[in-house]
């Protein structure tokens, strides 16, 4: 068994009276790619923000044994005021002795790794399409050669072909870096392509963990309903009646 890279034990998080995470446990081993699936509002993003230290859990412990992280945000979260290459090399530019020329060269190399031409380097994020923004976000995430990568809904808002391109890039980048990856998504095609293991989050807890093969054979009614995308089953979506 490989050493543990990320471990969450009994994580609780509530906003006011609304309980989001209710005793979440999850272990991610070094070098593996884990995908957390679950419906909207089940606490996937909150889990990720707790791991990244952007939110403080009310209770529980999180241990992280990595050195450097990279993160691809749902909206790519590129800095509007900086050009594409400055976005990609943002963390690289903070390193001691790094010149802007050297940083730009690194940025262009990273852009090439995600299939973008050098001409894109001097463009500003506002001029990019959604798919290109995600690729630039991915280039920024891998620019410092992190040992742990986080992906927040990497294919949301993209057409199926661009989604597949992003999935391929994620798989390739994770393999090339030999990194540990934690992804949250509700896109099952993406989850099956990226994941070594899949964990299902429901009502603030991980209710199922298994490989992609095990996912297809599982009898867990929650997982089966979610994978099938059916409205019939134990998972009830709150829908307000009109009128």
């Amino acid at each position: 068994m490989k050493p543990v890279q990320i471990e969450l034990k009994n994580i609780h998080k509530a906003f006011g009276k609304k309980v989001i995470l209710d005793g979440l446990d999850l272990t991610v081993h070094r070098g593996e790619s884990v995908v957390i699936i679950g419906g909207s509002g089940t606490g996937k993003s909150v889990t990720l923000k707790c791991i990244l230290g952007l939110l403080k859990p009310d209770k529980g412990t999180i241990s992280f044994n990595g050195q450097q992280i990279g993160m691809l945000f749902q909206s790519a979260a590129l800095f509007d005021s900086l050009s594409v290459w400055e976005n990609v090399s943002f963390a690289v530019l903070q390193q001691k002795g790094m010149t802007r020329e050297k940083a730009k060269k690194i940025a262009i190399e990273k852009l090439a790794e995600v299939g973008l031409k050098p001409e894109v380097a001097d463009v500003y994020p506002a001029d990019l399409s959604g798919g290109m923004k995600k690729r630039v976000g991915l280039a920024r995430a891998i620019a410092t050669k992190p040992d742990t990568l986080f992906f927040d809904e990497p294919t949301t808002g993209l057409d199926p072909i661009m989604s597949d391109v992003i999935n391929d890039l994620i798989v390739r980048s994770v393999k090339k870096l030999g990194a540990t990856a934690l992804t949250i998504t509700h896109d099952m095609t993406s989850a099956k392509k990226i994941a070594d293991r899949i964990a299902m989050l429901y009502e603030g807890k991980i209710i199922w963990v298994g490989t992609v093969k095990e996912l297809e054979k599982t009898t867990n009614p929650y997982v089966r309903q979610f994978v099938a995308g059916s409205s019939k089953g134990p998972i009830h979506m709150e829908v307000k009646a009109e009128g």
């Binding site: 952007l54 945000f73 909206s75 979260a77 590129l78 943002f90």
Partner: protein, 261 residues
């Protein structure tokens, strides 16, 4: 009885929210000040903010103080000519501009221009996860976003006010000499004779404090914005309103401290 309990309930909620907001602002201020004092410093960001606050606010501050000086000259002349004390016009213009008009008018103009822009920019960064992205890129948002803006506010407001002082006095001179037929040399000599270092210094200290308040409130409201475009709009309004009110309150407190103690 029930109505009284409801009243107490509402009062308690309002007080709790007030103390929560005050405490939150106090913690934010402490973090901002610490970020200004500790390494790393982002020189490029600071330079960008110095230009944004100092250079681009210059036209609006210049026009405001110039016309304020002109208005003060007219109003003073109207008042003192009844007592044949027209010679006091240059002194009143000088004191009014350097002590009050230049710092306060410049602060209100900069609050509307820069405070709103800071709240909108940082607010948009907050709701589009750009501030979270900064954290994941090993960058402290207080050092990268807040400290350069606060430092630029403290450094550039006195410069703007100093220019405003000169233009305000020039406004008074133009009205005095070209409209009221004062002797130009006498007006300038009177102005020079009445000039006291304390008047200028008090105005510059006020300017630095106002610069801190405007940048802090712009950053604070932007940082705390949530809920998309509406939240950013609300943050922008709050930044301008809160910084304008605080500028006027601190103007009174500083005037008391400089001239009444």
């Amino acid at each position: 009885m029930q109505q009284f309990l409801n009243f107490l309930n509402t009062l308690g909620r309002v007080m709790t929210n007030f103390f929560y907001a005050t405490g939150d602002l106090a913690i934010f201020t402490a973090k901002a000040v610490m970020a200004c004092l500790r390494k790393p410093f982002y020189g490029k960001e600071l330079f960008h903010q110095l230009v944004e606050i100092g250079f681009y606010s210059l036209p609006v501050v210049a026009l405001t103080t110039l016309f304020s000086g002109m208005v003060i000259a007219i109003q003073t002349y109207e008042a003192v000519s009844k007592f044949s004390a027209e010679g006091a016009v240059s002194m009143v213009v000088l004191v009014a501009v350097t002590r009050e008009l230049a710092p306060v008018m410049a602060a209100l103009m900069v609050a509307g221009r820069i405070g709103a822009a800071m709240a909108a920019e940082i607010g948009t960064m907050q709701v589009t996860e750009q501030i979270d992205a900064l954290v994941t890129l090993n960058t402290n948002p207080f050092k990268y976003l807040i400290a350069p803006r606060v430092l630029a506010g403290i450094l550039m407001m006195p410069v703007l006010v100093l220019i405003g002082d000169v233009l305000g006095v020039c406004g008074g001179y133009m009205v005095g000499v070209y409209k009221m037929d004062f002797n130009a040399t006498t007006y300038l000599v009177n102005t020079w004779n009445y000039l006291k270092a304390m008047d200028i210094i008090s105005g510059l200290v006020k300017a630095a404090v106002f610069g801190f308040i405007i940048a802090l409130m712009g950053c604070y409201n932007g940082f705390r914005s949530k809920g998309g475009a509406q939240g950013v709009g609300q943050a922008t309004t709050n930044a301008v309103v809160s910084s304008s009110i605080l500028v006027l309150i601190f103007n009174y407190l500083l005037t008391e401290a400089f001239f009444n103690m």
